[in-house]
Every structure is written in structure tokens, then in C-alpha cells.
């Protein structure tokens, strides 16, 4: 089946060659004007922007006051064309469009799972309209589909928390539509191209081709719906945009269509700033707009992105700390031809953090290259220190490893070539729990339930490294197999019941796919195995023979101190698990990838995982992403970063997340030094081949005060494992976890 699919794909690709070319990348490369200067040209917000933002702030305050949800439309199933146009204040808005007819009113997108929607609505004391409920008496949703195919083993893994957060009852997200296409070509041309694609899928029809024909047809429908959506706001989306304002508006409409149709866990924007810059530069050159007006357009666009909402159940908010939408925008980076992708609009996007204040959304991600213009590096440092709202990813590494220089960041940290490839999101497996099962003959450490087969009893008073490793590897292999089964079912069903037609309409037909597996708790694994190898670890077992504690005799190297002895264990396990996952064929011939990422669920994982051999007690939080466990890195930040940098990106192509929190003074004594040192820190970290870094520059005192007096910090933003969150919206347990996490406080 595998080879057949590949063959079909070749066939289609060949036929596509004759078609009118949709090539945004070429357009950007040809027209972009790189910017090498500093931030002195930037403008503050206009009166209009400030007034408009004030309305948004007040609405958000009311939203918070109402428990995190302002209003819900319980009558309508959301679609691209479901709602009448909505405005914040029509006279002040330069960029229009809301998901529903009112600011912050949430819409129901029940095809991920009607039950989750019903629950979320009920939590707010409301009820889903009968009419909507009736629809699902006659049709299935994604959630239903998945569970009709799941086997008992997958269900057991899920309920015991071995596999967690799987997108089996909510929308998978992660797909990035190439929203630039609508602005550059207009919907008519895109429809024409899709119709040609459809024609090209002919001949003997196998399952793949039939599905593809159905998909393209639904994409054409979505493009037509976008035209209708545009018309309702008085916009002619059928034709290409002709000005900066239109380009931003068109692009936003394309994104709006996506977030009206889908409530994916993360719906990134891509890499739009330098695309937009081309239009802005043209208008500036023609004297049609001033710098202040250019900034105003960007401010208003970003304001709209900040107002995107999805209807989520309370439990979801608790895990993720508020309701993130992950409108991730990648900024900066280099072209493969050596030019920088930094434009003035890269600066303008970051400037929104001053003009509108700090915010978790959009999730601004700087693609860092050693060759970025120094002026831009400085500005990034300044913005990081002032707002803690940016994350950094290694552009040199990603371009070299993945190939294309035209990419966005899906969700938190994952590379995704724009318009050419997509991702199938798959949350993650709990590695420390896997290790504990390896130590308990395959039984889950808390329930005692038998999960894994053929895991031998570990004899002897002390744990013996070789024997533990053998069991652990066996355990990982079995888990990889079940994990892959679950993922294939999930994505088959998502395609079938909740296909992302609006986003896919802006992506090449039949794109390449990455299957995005994940793993949590790598630092616990490294330390646990290091303890077993270099110290003596005696398991303490209860009457059922389950490990409840571990006595560690002697010292051992810990992850986060740039010590190869332990860092190599972390790298090896990552590689091993990655290779195990790669052994299993994926639905739609997707390519397996792995992430070391927890988002904010490191606290939740900790709660559900028993005591581990590294001395972490039952219930204690994991470190986020690939971070060293807090308090175990003793030699300062560079050593901690160097350990994480040893994890090989090629073994975790979906991303290796690291969160770095530091008090401003520890970055340097003067502001100048702080900015300079942050740049050098990023240069150094990424030169070592590291992938991602969240940067928080905050005082522990500030966080303590925000913990005690949240009302004083409505916009306090911090970065956690791949995205930014509003600190005061994290659960209290999570807030404390963030505060106790290693702050690099050298004096």
C-alpha cells in the first residue's frame, strides 16, 4: 500500500507541472527588501489604535470576570459563512472581521466532538440548541469515529496516562494554511488552480486518489465560501490584493475562514510579515501611506489575532493556562541564498508588543540565525527583556536540516514548510511512566495494572543498569507500536469527519505530511538512568511489589551540567525512541517525527506519575520540554543550555523545547550589557546545534507579587515550553511551579 501511494503521488506531481504556478516563495524572494538598520524608524500607536484596543481590553476584562468566556452562540454550527459580520467599532477598524457577529463571542465547532462542545457549553450554564444536537443523531464526529476504531489496548494506554493529550476528542490543529496565497492570487485564481489539480487526479482510481478528489472538491467549496465571507464585509476576495491594507485584510480573511471552521489546538499564521512588507514598502514608496499608518495596519491586524477565541472546556484551559490559540508567527531568519529575511515589518510586528502591550498571542517566534542583522538582534533582545513575549528558534539548523527557507512554526516549535507540507499532531507519551513500567514487570506504577508484555522481573537489591535498559527499551518499543496505531486512527478519522478544507485550500493538493509524535520527561529519564548507572539505586517496593520509592546511594551526574556521561543518555534515549516510532507505517504515508515538548502539561504529567529513580517524588512536576529538572543544574545557564543542545535535532525533528528564565540583573549590569549578552547567549546556544529557546526575563519578586495580586498584572506574559501564556491565568499550582523552576540568578 505504501509504494502504491508514492507512485500515485509521482503521477499527480508530474501532471501538476503543466499548471499555472502557485508560488508565493518566489514572489517573496523576488520582491522583498531586507532591512539592516535599527529600530529608530518605528512609530507608536495611533489614537485610533489605542481607542480600539481599549475596547478590546475592556471586553477581555469582562471575559475574565465571567470566568473566561464572554458569550457563546449556542444556536449555530460555525462555518466560514455561518455568522453575520462583526465589528469592534466599525469606524475605527482598518482591518475587519470577527469569528462571530460580536467581539469575543465564541462559536461552536462540534465536528471534533459534540460531547466536548456540549460539556463546555454546559459549564457556562447554557445548553446546545436541539437543532444542533439533532445533527449528530444522524452523523458522526471525529471523537465518535476515533473511539469506534480504538482497540482496548489504546484505550488502556490513554486512561492510564501513558499516552496523553491525543487529539481524539478535539481538533488536531497544527496545519498552517498558506494564507498569503489569498492575498497574492485572489480566490478566483486559487479555485482555477484547484480545479486543474482535480482534473489531474484521474485514470484508475485507488483509495488515495478518490479521497484526494473529495478533498480538493471540498477545498474549492471553502474558497468559494471565503468569497462569500469577504462579500459580507464588502471585500472582493476573488481578486488579488492591491495595497498594503488589502494584503493584510485578505490574509486575515483567509486566516479568519480557518478559525471560523476549525478550533484546532494550535493554528499558526505562518511567516507573513515579510510578505506583508512587500506591499507596505510599495505603498510607502508611492506615498500612499506613512510609517505611522503602516504600523497602524500591523497593530490592527495583530489586535484581531489577539481576539481569536475557541470554545474550550474548563479542563482544557486548566492544562494550557488560559485558552491559547497558538497564532504562531515566525519572524526573521535568512534566505538560503544568504540574504536576510528581516524586513522593517519584522520590527513592526515586534513593535506591537509595545503599542498594544505584552501578550501571549500571536505567538511571536524569532527565527534566529548567526547572520541576522545586528540591529534586529539588538531589538529582539530589547523586546525580550521588556516583554518576555518572544521565543527563538534556530533558523540555520532548521534550514540546513529541513531544506526549505519558506517555513512557519506549527503550534509551539515545529518547522513546517509553507503550502507544501502539513503535520499530524499527536501530543505525547510519558517517558518516566514508561521507565517505571520497565521497573515493574510492565505494570503501571500507580494502578498496578499490567500494560506491557515480556518485561522481566528485576532481581537483586540494587537496580542493574544493563537489565533496566533492556526492559526500558522493550517498553519503549511496545509503546511506539501502540502509539502509532492510535495516531493512524486519529488522523484517518479527523480527515473523514473534520477535514480542514479552508486551510487545505491554501496548500498544495496532496502535500507531504509529518506525523508529529511527542515525548515528555526526558530530563527525568536521563537523571534516573544516570543514577542507576553511576550511583547505587535501591527500589523500595510495596506489598504488591510495585516501586513506591528509590534510595539513591552516592552521587551521579545530572542533566543540565554539560556532563557528557548523563547528557549522552538523554540523547541516546531520544534517538532510540525516535527510531522505534519510525518503524511503523503511517496513515497517508506520513513521515514520523518526534518532539520533546510538554507545553504546560508538565505539571499534569507530574501529578499522574509515581516516584522516579532520580529522586523526583510522586506528584512532583516534570521539567517543561527538554529542560533540566529544576535545582539540579549547578554550574549556571551556559552549562544547562549546553546539555540540552546535545539532544540531536535529527532525532526530534518536531522540536526540542527549552525554557529559560532569568532575572534581568543576571543578564548583565547595564541594559546595554543585558541586550548584548542575550544576543551572545542565543548565538552560542544555537551554534551548538540547539533548536529552540523560550526567554523569560523576569524578577522572581514580580512573579511572587503577581501570584498574590493577580489583578495588578492583567498582561503579564511568560513563556512556557513553546508558547507564551498569561501568567495570572495559569493555575495556582502551575504558577508556583514556574516560580520555583530554575531562575538563573548568578550574582
Amino acid at each position: 500500500m505504501k509504494s502504491q501511494t508514492a507512485e500515485t503521488k509521482d503521477l499527480i506531481e508530474k501532471k501538476l507541472l503543466n499548471l499555472p504556478l502557485i508560488d508565493v516563495k518566489a514572489f517573496v524572494e523576488k520582491n522583498v527588501i531586507p532591512y539592516y538598520g535599527d529600530d529608530s524608524f518605528l512609530e507608536g500607536p495611533t489614537q485610533r489604535t489605542t481607542t480600539l484596543w481599549q475596547i478590546c481590553l475592556e471586553a477581555m476584562l469582562e471575559e475574565r470576570y465571567k470566568g473566561g468566556c464572554l458569550a457563546i452562540d449556542t444556536e449555530t454550527i460555525s462555518s466560514i459563512t455561518s455568522h453575520k459580520p462583526g465589528y469592534i467599532n466599525k469606524d475605527l477598524e482598518l482591518i475587519v472581521g470577527l469569528q462571530t457577529d460580536e467581539l469575543l463571542k465564541r462559536a461552536m465547532k462540534p465536528f471534533g466532538g459534540i460531547r466536548v462542545v456540549e460539556g463546555a457549553v454546559a459549564e457556562r450554564g447554557l445548553e446546545v440548541a436541539e437543532e444542533v444536537k439533532n445533527v449528530f443523531k444522524h452523523t458522526s464526529d471525529h471523537n465518535n469515529g476515533v473511539f469506534s476504531a480504538y482497540d482496548d489496548e489504546i484505550k488502556q494506554y490513554r486512561s492510564l496516562g501513558i499516552l496523553t493529550g491525543l487529539p481524539d476528542n478535539y481538533a488536531r490543529g497544527r496545519i498552517i494554511g498558506d494564507y498569503r496565497r489569498l492575498a497574492l492570487y485572489g480566490a478566483d485564481e486559487l479555485i482555477r488552480a484547484k480545479k486543474n489539480d482535480l482534473k489531474a487526479v484521474n485514470g484508475v482510481l485507488n483509495e488515495h486518489k478518490i479521497r484526494l478528489r473529495e478533498e480538493i472538491t471540498s477545498q474549492i467549496k471553502a474558497l468559494k465560501d471565503m468569497i462569500v465571507l469577504g462579500n459580507s464585509y464588502g471585500l472582493e476576495l476573488n481578486r488579488p490584493a492591491t495595497s498594503a491594507k488589502e494584503a493584510i485584510q485578505w490574509l486575515y480573511m483567509a486566516y479568519l475562514a480557518a478559525v471560523k471552521e476549525q478550533d484546532g489546538a494550535a493554528m499558526s499564521l505562518g511567516n507573513v510579515s515579510n510578505f506583508i512588507d512587500i506591499y507596505i514598502e510599495k505603498d510607502l514608496e508611492k506615498g500612499l501611506i506613512t510609517e505611522s499608518e503602516a504600523q497602524e495596519l500591523v497593530d490592527q491586524f495583530v489586535m484581531k489575532l489577539r481576539m481569536v477565541r475557541h470554545l474550550r472546556p474548563g479542563a482544557y484551559d486548566e492544562i494550557f493556562g488560559g485558552d491559547p490559540t497558538w497564532v504562531t508567527e515566525a519572524i526573521g531568519g535568512q534566505f538560503n541564498d544568504g540574504r536576510t529575511k528581516v524586513t522593517k515589518t519584522s520590527f513592526r510586528f515586534l513593535q506591537t508588543l509595545y503599542n498594544l502591550g505584552a501578550s501571549p498571542e500571536p505567538n511571536l517566534t524569532v527565527l534566529w540565525s548567526k547572520d541576522l542583522p545586528e540591529g534586529f538582534k539588538k531589538f529582539c533582545g530589547k523586546v525580550s527583556i521588556d516583554t518576555s513575549s518572544i521565543q527563538y528558534e534556530n533558523d540555520d539548523l532548521m534550514r540546513k536540516t529541513r531544506g526549505s527557507d519558506d517555513y512557519g512554526i506549527a503550534c509551539c516549535v515545529s518547522y513546517q514548510e509553507l503550502g507544501k507540507r502539513i503535520q499530524f499532531f499527536g501530543a505525547r507519551t510519558n517517558l518516566p511512566k514508561t521507565l517505571l513500567m520497565a521497573l515493574n514487570e510492565g505494570r503501571e506504577e500507580i494502578s498496578g495494572k499490567k500494560v506491557l508484555q515480556d518485561i522481566s522481573v528485576l532481581e537483586g537489591e540494587y537496580l542493574e543498569y544493563e537489565a533496566v535498559m533492556e526492559n526500558f527499551k522493550k517498553s519503549m518499543s511496545q509503546i511506539a507500536e501502540v502509539y502509532s496505531r492510535a495516531m493512524n486512527i486519529i488522523h484517518y478519522m479527523h480527515d473523514r469527519h473534520y477535514y480542514e478544507k479552508a486551510q487545505m485550500a491554501l496548500i498544495d493538493s496532496d502535500p507531504g505530511i509529518d506525523m508529529a509524535y511527542g515525548a515528555a520527561g526526558i530530563s527525568i529519564i536521563a537523571d534516573s538512568l544516570s543514577a542507576i548507572k553511576y550511583a547505587k539505586v535501591k527500589p523500595v517496593r510495596n506489598e504488591d511489589g510495585l516501586t513506591v520509592d528509590f534510595i539513591v546511594e552516592g552521587d551521579y551526574p545530572k542533566f543540565g551540567n554539560d556532563n557528557d556521561k548523563v547528557d549522552e543518555i538523554a540523547a541516546y534515549i531520544t534517538k532510540f525512541f525516535s527510531e522505534e516510532l519510525a518503524k511503523h507505517a503511517c496513515y497517508k504515508n506520513a513521515r514520523p517525527t518526534l518532539s520533546l515538548l510538554t507545553i504546560t502539561s508538565n505539571v499534569m504529567y507530574g501529578k499522574k506519575t509515581g516516584t522516579t529513580p532520580d529522586g523526583r517524588k510522586e506528584g512532583e512536576a516534570f521539567a517543561p520540554g527538554a529542560n533540566p529538572m529544576h535545582g539540579r543544574d549547578t554550574d549556571g545557564a551556559v552549562a544547562a543550555l549546553s546539555s540540552v543542545a546535545k539532544l540531536d535535532y535529527r532525532d526530534a525533528l518536531d522540536g526540542i523545547s527549552n525554557t529559560f528564565s532569568i532575572i534581568p540583573k543576571s543578564l548583565g549590569s547595564s541594559r546595554e550589557d543585558q541586550i548584548e549578552n542575550l544576543s551572545r547567549l542565543l548565538d552560542g546556544y544555537f551554534e551548538l546545534g540547539a533548536h529552540h529557546l523560550n526567554v523569560n526575563v523576569l524578577d522572581r519578586d514580580t512573579l511572587m507579587d503577581a501570584y498574590k495580586n493577580p489583578e495588578n498584572y492583567p498582561q503579564l506574559t511568560i513563556r512556557v515550553s513553546g508558547y507564551a501564556v498569561n501568567f495570572t491565568r495559569l493555575s495556582k499550582a502551575h504558577q508556583l511551579e514556574v516560580i520555583t523552576r530554575t531562575f538563573h540568578e548568578s550574582l
Partner: protein
């Protein structure tokens, strides 16, 4: 209180200098306050002084710490090079590095071979041939002046400042760069007349690029307790912003650059 007289520790120091290693208290890989740029800071073990306010009293005894070979340190520094940029490098601090000066000369030579910038953070208590040799390979000296007045210097450190001033004089004669560091302790080192005297003493030094005022703090008090030593500055609080400003104004009359660390 123990092992702090210079005579008593002579043998141990001699021993230390035989091995191709440094006696190290701890390291900080992201040093941003001990010289320019991002620095690998090696805090060495042992000090002749016994400052009333020492924030790292556990570095005073020359018995503690762990041995780290010079090659180990060089390897660490080399690995960390991507972080150094144009300005960063290695700083040896303490404790008092000069106790291991012969070995440091070796280390600095090795670091120079790797193109790594070297900084020495010292109290300047020893000024002999070996120190002078070390200073040859020291790109930047950060000299801690505890007090300009010898009586007060005694009161603060138990020893005299004569050598420290000689050390400064020697560095000046080499024409190579030096920063001064001055811990400002209310009631001990903030007397106006002595601040003027300090300025006056150094005003013609060309090698001094800047003076850093380090406001006294109590973050190390728990370490005194852990050692079972009595902390005598319990009653002294960190200097007020206004007093820092005043001191900085005075010093600005004499120094090119005054920074508050």
C-alpha cells in the same frame, strides 16, 4: 578563623602549586558580572583576607574545594567559546586567585593559545615575581579595593592594604587595563573623606577603565551560619539609593567611568 593566617597555610599553597590543577570552589558558566561579555567564571578556593562581609566565606579556607586540572578548565572554556562573542572569556575569581598564581599563569597561557580572553578578579595581596608573570598573560585585572585607609582595611579584612596598592601601581606601570571594584558598606567604606582619598590616589592612573561600586548585601549570611562563624555585620543594611548616588558622584570627580554593579 582557622587556616587564615598566611604563614600557616604556606605548605598547603606550595602543594597546590605542584599539581597541574587548580583548587576550585565552584564555577559559573554564565558569568555576566565578572568582566566583559559572557564569561566562564572559576571561583577558586582559599583567601588570605577575612572580610567582615565576605559573601562567599566558604571560599576562604584553603582546605575545601575540588581539584580541577588545567586541561579540564581549558576544555570547558573551549566548549563555551560560541557564547563568548567578541568580549567574553574566562575570569578567575575566588576566594583569592593569587594563592594559585603560578598555576594560573599556565592556565592563562593555555587560554591565550585558544584565543580566549583572560580576566583576574583579585584582592592584590601578593605582588611578587610570580604575580608579575601572571599579569603578563592577564588581559584584564579586576582589583578589589577594600579600603584606602589602612586602619579601616585592617578592620575589614584583618590585613593591610599596602600590597594591594603596590599591586595597582605595578599594573599601572605595565599599561594594561584594570577595573577597580569597591564594596560599599554603610559605616565601613562610605566615609566621604576616604572616598576622596581613594579618588585622589588613583586619579592619575591611565590603566583604570572604570570603577564598579558593589553595594553591600547580606545574601551570604547563611553561609557564615553554616560554617558556624559569627557574622559581625548583622546590623548593617544595604546602602540606600541616595547614598549610592552620593558615592558615585564623588568618585566621578576622579574616575573616567563609575558604575554601580
Amino acid at each position: 578563623m582557622k587556616n587564615t593566617s598566611t604563614t600557616g597555610s604556606g605548605n598547603l599553597i606550595a602543594n597546590l602549586q605542584k599539581a597541574e590543577a587548580l583548587r576550585v570552589h565552584s564555577i559559573e558558566t554564565f558569568g555576566t558580572h565578572d568582566g566583559p561579555g559572557i564569561r566562564l567564571v572559576i571561583f577558586v578556593q582559599g583567601c588570605q583576607f577575612h572580610c567582615l562581609y565576605c559573601a562567599n566565606p566558604d571560599t576562604i579556607s584553603i582546605d575545601g574545594g575540588t581539584l580541577m586540572s588545567l586541561d579540564q578548565i581549558v576544555a570547558k572554556a573551549k566548549k563555551q567559546k560560541p557564547f563568548f562573542g567578541k568580549n567574553g572569556g574566562v575570569t578567575i575569581s575566588g576566594g583569592e586567585p593569587l594563592l594559585q598564581r603560578a598555576m594560573l599563569k599556565e592556565l592563562f597561557n593555555k587560554l591565550h593559545k585558544e584565543g580566549i580572553h583572560t580576566t583576574l578578579d583579585t584582592n592584590g595581596k601578593v605582588i611578587d615575581k610570580q604575580t608579575k608573570d601572571l599579569l603578563e598573560t592577564t588581559d584584564l585585572v579586576m582589583l578589589d579595593i577594600k579600603h584606602i585607609n589602612n586602619d579601616w582595611h585592617h578592620k575589614i579584612t584583618r590585613l593591610s592594604n599596602v600590597n594591594t596598592l603596590k599591586f595597582a601601581e605595578y599594573r599601572e606601570s605595565t599599561g594594561k587595563p584594570m577595573w577597580l571594584r569597591y564594596v560599599l558598606v554603610p559605616g565601613y567604606s562610605d566615609q566621604e573623606e576616604y572616598l576622596h582619598q581613594l579618588g585622589d590616589h588613583f586619579k592619575n592612573y591611565k590603566s583604570i577603565e572604570k570603577i564598579e561600586i558593589l553595594p553591600y548585601h547580606k545574601l551570604g549570611v547563611h553561609k557564615w551560619e553554616a560554617l558556624g562563624w559569627k557574622y559581625e555585620l548583622e546590623h548593617v543594611e544595604s546602602p540606600e539609593i541616595t547614598s549610592l548616588k552620593k558615592v558615585s558622584d564623588i568618585l566621578q570627580q576622579y574616575f573616567r567611568r563609575v558604575e554601580v554593579g
